[in-house]
């Protein structure tokens, strides 16, 4: 039974019952965009400084 037919069957069953939970996984992975605007070039630029920071502060990192 393909995904499409399975989803249709679930939807029909759900529609006919009063309360129902869809247990088939969504087709596409769940994407979570948390609006993190960090650019990789910034991370690379800071890499050496950040390594120093960690090493110089042993009780903190």
């Amino acid at each position: 039974m393909g995904n499409w037919t399975r989803n249709l069957a679930c939807a029909l069953v759900c529609a006919s019952l009063s309360g129902c939970v869809q247990v088939t996984a969504p087709e596409r992975p769940i994407e979570i965009n948390l609006n993190i605007n960090i650019r990789q070039e910034v991370v690379v630029r800071l890499q050496e400084d950040v390594r120093d920071l960690i090493q110089r502060n042993p009780g903190v990192f």
Partner: protein
């Protein structure tokens, strides 16, 4: 006489427990991040700060808070020196922590908010901006 001795032993044990608890609270105030990660109660987050994996005693919570305050101070300082935002410094540091400081069996949290445990020697996954 026996009753008096039992009473003294009970009192002695009571003081030891109370003293022990106080000592534990005081000792916790000097726990390093390495020690905290090793307890399994505390993990590293992708935003650059430590977090509680589940529920933890008050002493652990306050120690984590104290460490995070120090981290934010260091991030702020470096951000000023390098023309970056505090968040950029914090997340870049987390990239480095994820790459080097999380030992097998210790906990980390990606931006999806889920706590995961490092499985043996497998590489800790990092956000894509870590490179």
């Amino acid at each position: 006489m026996n009753r008096l001795i039992s009473l003294m032993i009970a009192a002695g044990l009571g003081f030891t427990v109370a003293g022990g608890t106080a000592l534990a609270a005081v000792a916790m105030q000097s726990e390093t991040p390495e020690q905290l990660r090793a307890t399994g109660l505390v993990g590293e987050k992708a935003d650059g700060y430590m977090g509680l994996v589940g529920s933890a005693p008050a002493e652990v919570r306050s120690r984590v808070d104290a460490i995070n305050i120090q981290r934010r101070a260091r991030y702020t300082e470096l951000a000023g020196q390098r023309s970056a935002t505090i968040e950029e410094v914090a997340r870049s540091t987390a990239c480095e922590i994820f790459a080097s400081r999380i030992l097998p069996g210790q906990y980390y949290q990606l931006p999806d908010g889920v706590w995961r445990r490092r499985n043996g020697d497998e590489r800790v996954p990092r956000p894509t901006y870590c490179g």
